[in-house]
């Protein structure tokens, strides 16, 4: 039997989806391969990234944070300054433009924190596409403001009540909807997860983060960074930052997962740190599961990291040791959330706060001339209400 190894990163990746979707994945792959190098497509995407999203985003030297930690210099890649407040728009816009060229009239998407949902609803509004967003009922509760945003943008938000009522189940429901509507709809997956070609395509749309950071740091510091740090749920902002540095072995990479209440409590979302290999949402990767292969619920204070799987290329990076992965707890992330707000006047998303928490641990151990780039993947406005609940009674 001939094995089709397209879309694999080492042993990870693949296309584990119902037959109904296979022709659509092939169509998508062909369209993506055709348009990604096409001048008209690239120019249109670049136009919107510059004039609509506001790229390039700054690479900001966080001097006060650096001084406070007393070690390596910390630069923040300010994806939080993108239109819609996170890196998600880089991918949503790219895929929406592609969907339009494929003649699709309708787009669907899953969302956890709501950032990908908002970005996709935004791209849909801009490009006149019908849009439906699937969101877990628990996340609808945690992120009600983003629900309202999506509705304002003209999207229909479907509250998903099945399973753990979070991102995993929103993704299941989006896949089911796609199985039913595949002939006229394109599914904009929001991370470097899912069946081939999604992990590659989403990574490439997000690679603008790393490409810009590489140019910016070389210009400011005259050298490459020593370490890149980014949070990893599905892992799109991390892969977007990491990938352009992939072949530069002197640049180390650290992906930061959500340890939730602590790895040993079992209430976490650290698929790479504490998971095992399996198939979820169309790809083979590390995930949280029991010995029968039933997917276990993830837990994180951050809705965007609250996912029991991870992109297959991260699994490959882990096994080949191209990147290191660690996990930080809800508590550590909240401390970093407060610290950056107070020191730099930047309220980070809870997702990005995980990357910052790891930077706070690593930076003091490095010499002062070392350079760290942290991906500040999103802004924290969406989290302020949730954090105020969590910190109730605590001194800020």
């Amino acid at each position: 039997m001939e094995m089709n190894k397209a879309g694999y990163f080492g042993e990870f990746g693949g296309q584990y989806v119902p037959e109904t979707l296979m022709p659509a994945l092939q169509e998508l792959e062909e369209a993506y391969e055709k348009y990604k190098e096409e001048r008209g497509f690239k120019e249109e995407l670049d136009y919107y990234l510059k004039n609509y999203v506001g790229r390039p985003t700054p690479l900001y030297y966080a001097q006060k944070l650096t001084d406070h930690l007393g070690g390596a210099k910390i630069y923040l890649k300010r994806e939080d300054l993108n239109h819609t407040g996170a890196h998600k728009i880089n991918n949503s816009l790219g895929q929406a433009l592609l969907a339009k060229r494929m003649g699709k009239k309708r787009i669907i998407a899953e969302t956890g924190a709501g950032q990908h949902g908002v970005a996709t609803a935004t791209a849909a509004a801009l490009l006149d596409l019908e849009c439906e967003i699937f969101m877990g009922a628990e996340d609808v509760r945690r992120q009600s403001l983003n629900v309202f945003r999506m509705e304002l943008l003209g999207a229909k938000v479907v509250k998903v009540e099945s399973g753990t009522r979070t991102l995993k189940d929103a993704t299941n429901e989006a896949l089911r909807n796609w199985v039913t509507t595949v002939e006229n709809s394109h599914y904009i997956i929001g991370s470097v997860v899912g069946p081939h070609p999604y992990p590659t395509m989403v990574r490439n749309f997000q690679s603008v983060i790393g490409q810009e950071a590489k140019e910016q740091i070389t210009e400011i510091e005259g050298k490459l960074p020593d370490l890149l740090i980014a949070c990893v749920g599905g892992g799109s902002n991390a892969m977007g930052l990491f990938h352009p540095f992939k072949d530069l072995q002197e640049v180390k990479m650290l992906g930061v997962e959500a340890a939730g209440s602590g790895i040993d409590t079992g209430k976490h979302a650290a698929s790479l740190t504490a998971g095992s290999k399996g198939v979820l949402h169309g790809a083979l990767s590390y995930l949280l599961q029991d010995s029968d292969g039933q997917i276990l619920p993830a837990h994180s204070v951050s809705a965007g990291l609250d996912y029991p799987g991870v992109g297959p290329e991260h699994s490959c990076f882990k096994d080949t040791e191209r990147a290191q992965y660690q996990a930080v707890t809800d508590k550590e992330a909240l401390e970093a959330f407060k610290l950056l707000s107070r020191l730099e006047g930047i309220i980070p998303a809870l997702e990005s706060s995980h990357a910052l928490a790891a930077a706070c641990q690593v930076a003091p151990r490095l010499e002062k001339e070392r350079v760290i780039v942290v991906c500040l993947s999103g802004r924290g406005d969406k989290d302020v209400a949730e954090v105020s609940e969590l910190l109730r009674g605590e001194a800020i």
Partner: protein, 275 residues
């Protein structure tokens, strides 16, 4: 001979059509499933699909999702399912096909899973999220163990893909009658005849139609151009109604009556007719 092949051979000779019920294993309990399989076999089920409950059933509609979730909450495991199959085999020779998502197989290990399934008396596997591209190794292992791997064809499948699927599928081909997830529907889709003809042109394998079969009428329509029909959600709905009232013997009776009714309906339509 593999039990699946034997049943379709016999049906071909008698010009009969197969009725294939799907049961969610462990819903509402393991004992109930054991009883259910015997009564369905007695009622005329030609083959039976045993659904392995899964936490993330992306190809299933609400009925099977709910039944799966309930079975998992009640503590169903793969080992319990294999033991159940073994017990059933002690008294009944109806072909049993395990329908499972791929991850439980991957995590158990392909060789190990197939060894356990074959030892328990399973005759075939249906894996809704394993397309032919990813199935090479599993197909080989299954074939060596005498298990049939049944692949699905969808309305969206291209002719090229249908040929590939026909080449690798064993036992029969599962023809997904709608572009969608599992679930009872009032009518069969309009393009069903053309869809089945497209597949028939490319294979000698028996064709069984599933997704959306809900009544003697839809079963007849589907059976007209196929060798069998698969009924899942509609059967579970009938069970669900009685389980809600905790009347388990009525649930069994009605399930059996439903399968008997379907069997009678498709058999009466085996010869060319004016439906």
């Amino acid at each position: 001979m593999n039990r699946i092949d034997a049943v379709f051979n016999d049906l071909r000779k008698s010009q009969g059509k197969a009725v294939i019920p799907y049961v969610t294993c462990g819903y509402p309990s393991l004992d109930f499933t054991k009883e259910l399989i015997s009564v369905l076999a007695e009622a005329g089920a030609d083959l039976i699909e045993i659904g392995v409950p899964y936490s993330d059933p992306v190809a299933d509609g609400p009925t099977i999702q709910k039944a799966s979730a309930r079975a998992l909450t009640a503590g169903i495991t793969l080992d319990k399912i294999f033991r159940l199959v073994e017990e059933i085999r002690g008294k009944c020779q109806v072909p049993l096909i395990m329908m499972t998502y791929y991850n439980p197989i991957y995590v158990t290990g392909v060789e190990n899973f197939i060894k356990k399934a074959a030892a328990a008396g399973v005759d075939g596997l249906i894996i809704p999220d394993l397309p032919v591209e990813e199935a090479g190794h599993l197909s080989e292992v299954a074939e060596r163990s005498g298990l049939r791997t049944i692949f699905l064809v969808a309305p969206t499948s291209t002719s090229e893909r249908i040929e590939k699927i026909a080449g690798i599928s064993r036992g029969f081909i599962y023809c997904v009658s709608v572009t969608g997830v599992t679930g009872a529907r009032k009518e069969v889709s309009e393009g069903l005849e053309d869809f089945l003809k497209r597949i028939r042109l490319r294979t000698e394998l028996p064709l069984a139609v599933g997704f959306g079969i809900s009544s003697p009428e839809t079963a007849c329509r589907a059976a007209e151009y196929a060798d069998g029909v698969i009924v899942g959600s509609a059967l579970i709905q009938k069970i669900e109604e009685n389980v809600a009232g905790e009347d388990y013997s009525k649930a069994l009776q009605e399930a059996a009556a439903f399968i008997k009714e379907l069997k009678g309906a498709v058999d009466s339509k085996s010869a060319p007719n004016d439906l």
